[in-house]
Amino acid sequence: MSDVVERTLSALPGLLGQQDPGAGPGGGPGRVSATSRLGGLIRSITALSSKHEEEKLIQQEQTNLKATVSAPTTTLRLMKECMVRLIYCEMLGYESSFGYIHAIKLAQQGNLLEKRVGYLAVSLFLHENHELLLLLVNTVVKDLQSTNLVEVCMALTVVSQIFPREMIPAVLPLIEDKLQHSKEIIRRKAVQALYKFYLIAPNQVQHIHDKFRKALCDRDVGVMAASLHIYLQMIKKNASGYKDLTESFVSILKQVVGGKLPIDFNYHSVPAPWLQIQLLRILGLLGKDDPRTSELMYDVLDESLRRAEINHNITYAILFECVQTIYTICPKSDLLEKAAKCIGKFVLSPKINLKYLGLKALTYVIQQDPNLALQHQMTIIECLDHPDPIIKRETLELLYRITNGQNVTVIVQKMLDYLRQSKEEYTIINLTGKIAELVEKYAPDNEWFIQTMNAVFSVGGDVMHPDIPNNFLRLLAEGFDDEKEDEELRLYAVQSYLSLLEEEDTFYPQKFLQVMSWVLGEYSYLINDGDPEVIITRLHRLLKQTFVTSETKAWIMTAVTKMSSRMSCSKTIDKLIQEFSTSLDTCMRQYAFELKHLCENKELMKNLFPLDASCDEIMVDASLSFLDGFVAEGLSCGAAPYKPHHQRQEEKLSQEKALNFEPYGLSFTSNMSSSGFTGRQSPAGLSLGSDMSGNSAELGQKETNCLKLDGVRKLWGKEGYLPKKENKTGKEDKTQPVPQDSILTAHVVDPPLMQSEQQVVSLSEEEKEKQQLASTLFVGLGSNSTISLIFESLSCHFPVIEAQSMESCQKCVQLEKVCTEGVLSGSISYHLDTDTHLEFSLTFSLSDFIRPMKMTTEDFGRLWLSFSNDVKQNLKMSPSQGSLSVALNALKQKLKLHIVEIIGNEGIAACRLLPSVPCLLHCRTHARTLALWFRSSCSALPDSLLYQCQKVMEEA
């Protein structure tokens, strides 16, 4: 104790030093006058008679305050008084944002008392995301480190009230330290602050869960109680993680119930009631659906029930929690019996609060124990007519849970009665939802169903949940199993709406009108004896009403259109068209014109509005597969393949980065533009339709940039040819221009692969069963240095395949990133008697994707200069390989190179990686070595090709 005094004393000089000298001797009177100023303000406000006068007065007050707080001579003491007045203004609802920064300053600079007002003002003025809060962080950090306990307390309080989430790391270690503080009040507030952090940023306090446990075992009850808040929250989220603590909670509760706490904690001679409530809630959460954990708590629950005997409000609070916990955890019969008795006590109590809770408890347990409701039948009936609407509503909530086919009409009637009296939006939304649900589930007959829904729509109006009319219409349209029944229901609906619309000038909510017009439009044909002209006249009348919104008008117009498709001609419709063709509402005009044109072509109209077809599925082929042929044709003409949006986005980004390097690519750009560039662009636009047309330009632009980028790499460093660094091969292989357009964008159809699939399929086709075939997945396994290849995943699906017949599926395999080897694996699954899966896998090497590339020596020369990624390597030639032409021929055969020209001991060859990434090779023999020099636009390609060449040479 003495050490704390000492610490406080040592902090005092600093504290006094902070005081403004002006606040010294004159402080006393200053304070008094300020208080009286607040008093004066309050007095003059209470004397006012109108809101307007109040506004004027406050405005004046605020002007004064603004001048005072921003004056440099204002002392902190005066500032404190200003803050209190500002708080008062804010409390009355007048924003005083000019003072916020001064509140923070006061918290920072003031002495204890001023600081307290400053902190209070901050926590009242600012909301959690206010930007000024950041300025508070430093002050809080300073105060947390203070030796003065009061300052620490204030800092902890403000942290738990309001603190910016992103600044938690700044104070977290300090607050964690406070958990070990010698004063219990500090520990308690620290726990509370951590709880706040847990709520706003659970991830940041994950590492201190152990410390929470320590707080739970704190020798001070207050600290332990504070930690229960955190546990309640955590257990709510994840009960299974804290089962091991059940025994601790049980033993704590036992000790509390057993009166082991100091008498200080008693409230009306009940030991720590709030603590008990908290523990009971935690136990309920832990014991839910867990017999073993529940077992642990039966005893203590029994004791709690027994001890809570005194007739006081707070004991009932505990009893209620007990009951709820008992019904939440795994049931035990004698406890349930006692709990049921308790509920009875509540329900029958003359105290209205207890009755309310009794009804709540009944509602909670009704599913488990419907008999309990039967026991209290009469009380429940009485509660239905209780003068307190809250009790009534709680009773309806209870009835809602016990509704069945027999009592539905009575209960719904009670609910509708309540609904009609209620003005509150929230109640209406809530109740209409419940009524609609019950009506749909249990409606005894059509008439009642429609009438009740009519009532719901008229009372619920436009505040009810939009699902209600939607569900209702769906129910009408889809119907039940019995077609005849459905028609009767629809007919009844039509008739009832017609009679409702008969009266002129009655107001109906928009939603209700929409429902009516849909039903009339869809099902009015069911009326055999009625004249459709009459219906249209009524709808027409509605259209002219001012209370009808334009959305509803659209519904009505649609209804009229549907009906007119079933009529030969109608004067009303003609009139309507004429009227709305000149309407100022563009939507209505549009509808009128549409209707007009449709009326001219009755056949089309009938097709457009088929009878009773609202439930027919309209098949939409979202994959647009009918365009596949078109796309394939486009691709074969040289169009660029489709790239999804995100890919284009990425490319655009990467190209933006590359812009810096522009000067180096200039010469190259001019080169390329002559070589079939334009030829490739137009098909891209053509094949990909409107959505894609914008991209052809983008692609073209990208090409130049990508190429430039490669050029730069070469010039700036050696990394360029390191395949590891290369990320852009994927797109280059699609966009790389090559001066020969016939083979530019061929895509691989790998015949061997598809045949193998095919064989498997035909083998398994003995039965005429539904078959599934799915071949999927490429897993790239780049052997050494290269990045794995990415193939798209394929799948195709065959319907039933006839025995002995063939069904084929062709897919393209493209190499997106250069690598030396890759595996295509997949499976064929089909269903005979059981589901069968056949796995297959194929290994591809880079050479499978290489094709010869024909060109002239001049083309070669031009391209050679434009490519920047190159690799040189000398290979030893074996004696058998002898001359250059022998070696080159070997490469030609194995790697499908095109030999452009051989002159003496030098030769040039060209190939391309599918679809169109060119690679050029220059070779020279010199004394048993073969010098290979690759160049390509793709940086990874030369390296990989060299590796292939090495292999070929070794094999030969």
């Binding site: 004393l9 402080g27 309050i42 309080t157 601790s248 307190d388």
Partner: protein, 194 residues
């Protein structure tokens, strides 16, 4: 979460927002106060003290719990994780504490000492959670702070007496004799920490 963004208000001719950690705009606060006042003031004497919330205070999960003292209404807005009756008694504790701190509290005290009322509430409810329900403890805390204030007001120029005042408000004097092993709750050893 406790008084899930507790708004506690005392309401009179001019309803006031007393506390809360809603991150709400001024307008919404005022609207909530108006709606609450509207709801509460209409209630008869013979009805229950609970009101299921309107849309403004967050719908079905939140409710208003109020107590009526002469011309004053004390209203707490809580979420489902609080016990209704428990909160009713918490209001009682709050009012009794006010009574002790202000010595026969009347509504004028609450108006003229808004800041003190806030401080008392802050000792009871911190960050929307019930922190302290022990009245003596709260009063002790508040007394300590009041002593500080009095001494500062009168004796700001006399450091020596201010020192003694600060001594007086020192926290160790709070009589809360529970941190002694024999009466404190013994929590069974939890194996995970030692």
């Amino acid at each position: 979460m406790g008084l899930g963004g507790s708004c506690a208000g005392w309401l009179m001719q001019a309803p006031c927002w007393l506390g809360g950690d809603f991150s709400l705009s001024e307008d919404t606060q005022q609207q909530i106060i108006r709606e609450t006042f509207h709801l509460v003031s209409k209630r008869d004497e013979n009805v229950c003290n609970f009101l299921e919330g309107g849309l403004l205070i967050g719908g079905s999960d939140n409710k208003l719990i109020y107590r009526h003292y002469a011309t004053l209404y004390f209203v707490f807005c809580v979420d489902s994780s609080e016990s209704e009756l428990g909160i009713l008694d918490l209001i009682q504790v709050f009012v009794e504490t006010l009574d002790k701190c202000f010595e026969n509290v009347c509504e004028l005290d609450l108006i003229f000492h808004v800041d003190k009322v806030h401080n008392i509430l802050a000792e009871m409810v911190m960050g929307g959670m019930v922190l302290e329900t022990n009245m003596n403890e709260i009063v002790t805390q508040i007394d300590a702070q009041n002593k500080l204030e009095k001494s500062e007001a009168g004796l700001a120029g006399a450091p020596a007496r201010a020192v003694s005042a600060v001594k007086n408000m020192n926290l160790p004097e709070i009589p809360r004799n529970i941190n002694i092993g024999d009466i404190s709750i013994k929590v069974p050893n939890l194996p995970s920490f030692k």
